[in-house]
Symmetry: C2
Subunit: 413 residues, 2 copies
């Protein structure tokens, strides 16, 4: 059962403000493990393995490693690199095996979303097929909260907290004059509306959006403008929250109407999004004559570590720890997931393990039954779900008036 060897940890896909908290969970547990002889970090995810660009985590200052808990953006660097199927092209897999052998890597931890779990799954299956003993565990992350088989994704709680906080602040600002204002706030989410739904939490400060539009339901521009106009006439104010990924009934992204960029696809075949807020703000201005503001939260929502959720930070760390513990105990080919302990009083989370192949490329959308008010509001079930996840403030170390983030030496292995 006991397997001695080095481990490699890599980060993949879009970062979150707490992604390094999971990294710290992996590093700390691996460094303390008797089985793991050396802890390596892959620079820019799987690319770091292909390029033999690895750093020796054991040489980092433990205090800097601890600062990873509150350091946004993937500290090792990330990538959006899609592995071909081994049956089509084995080149990358051979190289990965070569590097694993070179460093006697027996543990591989990969931190990412559904595309990254696909990578993780492919590597795991390849190593199994070659009889190379290596325990492979995925560690989930994504602000989008769209991973299959998990109650919620590490990273979502912090992004949701930032979005809810910002919504409450913006709604107050947008009401400051009596001359009227329509505010359009755009949140990330290509196919899943979890982040945009988080704007509804501002209701606890009487600041929720009047209209919330998620990608899960088709967006009808005329109906939308009619509604904005009606609300604005009544209140001289309207707060709209939309997902970047809203689509019309033909399935065409509204962002495509907005930007020429929209036609370009990334490595995973996703279309580039953006510009929905300013596009809708323009249309609303034309229709109502109201003063409008289109605000795109852009990268801010995935890197605002200063407004992270303490619960999310703690859980992200825990998922990293659990990945190493599971691997050391003999488990492989799984992703660490979580579920609520329904027998507990109040909120309590349990970790569990699910098969990599079940989570790879699957998507968990926002439940359409939680979308109410003729597709413009969010039901109470969501608040029961989300409130525990945004609880608690991060323990940031401040220097020179700004957060002190981890500064790693990144010594080449």
């Amino acid at each position: 059962m006991q397997l001695k060897g080095a481990c490699i940890f890599g980060q993949s896909g879009g970062p979150t403000s707490v992604i390094n908290s999971s990294a710290y969970g992996v590093f700390k547990t691996a460094l303390e493990s008797d089985c793991i002889t050396r802890v390596l970090g892959a620079k820019y995810g799987i690319k770091g393995i292909l390029n033999d660009d690895l750093i020796d985590i054991g040489l980092e200052d433990p205090k800097e490693l601890e600062l990873l808990l509150n350091t946004p953006s993937s500290a090792l660097g990330s990538c959006r690199y899609k592995l071909k199927n081994a049956s089509d092209d084995e080149t990358d897999y051979k190289r990965i095996l070569e590097i694993f052998k070179k460093y006697d890597v027996r543990y591989f931890f990969y931190n990412g979303g559904n595309d990254s779990m696909d990578t993780c799954n492919k590597i795991s299956k390849y190593l199994l097929s070659k009889g190379y003993e290596c325990r492979v565990i995925g560690v989930p992350k994504t602000i989008d909260n769209d991973l299959y088989g998990i109650d919620h994704c590490p990273g979502f709680g912090s992004a949701a907290k930032y979005i809810a906080t910002t919504s409450a602040e913006l709604a107050r600002d947008a009401k400051v004059y009596d001359t009227g204002m329509v505010l359009v706030l755009e949140c990330m989410g290509r196919n899943a509306g979890w982040l945009t739904a988080a704007t509804a939490v501002a209701k606890f400060m009487d600041a929720e959006p009047d209209i919330i539009s998620l990608p899960e339901v088709p967006f009808d521009m005329e109906k939308f403008l009619d509604r904005v106009e009606k609300i604005y006439k009544e209140k001289k104010y309207c707060f709209v929250a939309v997902s970047e990924g809203i689509k019309d009934s033909d399935g065409k992204f509204i962002a495509e109407y907005a930007t020429a960029n929209a036609s370009k696809e990334d490595a995973f075949g996703h279309k580039q999004m953006g510009g929905v807020a300013s596009y809708l703000a323009g249309a609303i201005k034309e229709r109502t004559g109201a003063k409008t503001r289109g605000i795109e939260l852009s990268l801010l929502q995935r890197c605002a570590a200063h407004c992270g959720s303490a619960t999310d930070i703690k859980e992200s760390f825990l998922m990293g720890c659990e990945a190493v513990k599971a691997a050391v105990s003999g488990i492989t080919d799984k992703m660490v997931a979580n579920e609520r302990d329904t027998s507990a009083q109040g909120y309590k989370l349990k970790t569990k393990l699910i098969d990599l192949q079940d989570v790879a490329n699957a998507e968990k959308k926002f439940p359409v039954e939680w979308i109410i008010n003729d597709n413009t509001g969010i039901s109470d079930e969501f608040f029961d779900y989300v409130l525990p996840l945004i609880e608690g403030q991060p323990d940031i170390k401040w220097e020179h008036g700004i957060p002190r983030f981890a500064q790693l030496k990144k010594v080449k292995a």
Copy 2:
């Protein structure tokens, strides 16, 4: 010397995330004063006086008033209402005097920037000319930090802290892939570059912009693109921070090239700004082929109370208190200002009073001698100036995972 009567407090111009801290200073001191018989708040600034739309602050829950310390956006509502000169049109002034007499108002406190100090000055002079005894004191605020005769403006420190923090976070995010990125961050500031300069504070986390462009120096597009291209070729990364108000050598706003909206003027004859970040991001993409992100901090930078500066909050409160104390002691026709106590060890602020007419409509720009590196960097003098102002974190009360802001009853007087 002792003058008994009611006071009116009003908020004017664009809000800041700590503007209500000054309001709380005024309210608390006025409610505790023996001379001030009633504390009234004007809804939507001077408009509330003209419309006889006043609220009785004495009827508010003291605990809610205290929450004003960390509540963003003008709690009473604000306006951008320009008073005509009394010599041209006395209508508004007569109405103001009528309302002041109706409520026996003997103290008037007005919280705003240079346009608002112009309003305050005009009212003060009119009341003096009519022999109506009323003590008028201006309370400064503006995130733009462009008020004359004051070391720094309440509101600037918090906006600067938010901008510096966000810059440090964004710079990390923008470096997450090895595929290259040009980040363009747009901060507010029509004519003064103080806010954009605050991005330079991110240097303490090795995250300062490579190019900082302020309105104080003409913007040369070709030179700018050459420089971005050079930096990007070298580092596969470039972080640009620009003020919304950058102008070319003909004095034309870059935003005017960017948006059709730019030609519209507000009540004070200012042109509407916006869209510089995405405009420059587009030009950079065209030139370099790099992946670019244009991010406009928009309203976020003036309402992010969750990332306010404790120093700014304390000082904003103090300025409100000092306004009332000065008025009660017999002073009128002044604005509360501040200066550093240079005899003190470290940073210590003293308040002072300056003539309203000196500050009205005057502007304090960013010192051009602090702009270095061929107009792309900020010198150390600025850090000595700004670091004390962004020190300390706000004492936010959190509920349901978001900040608990003041909720006033606003009972009509």
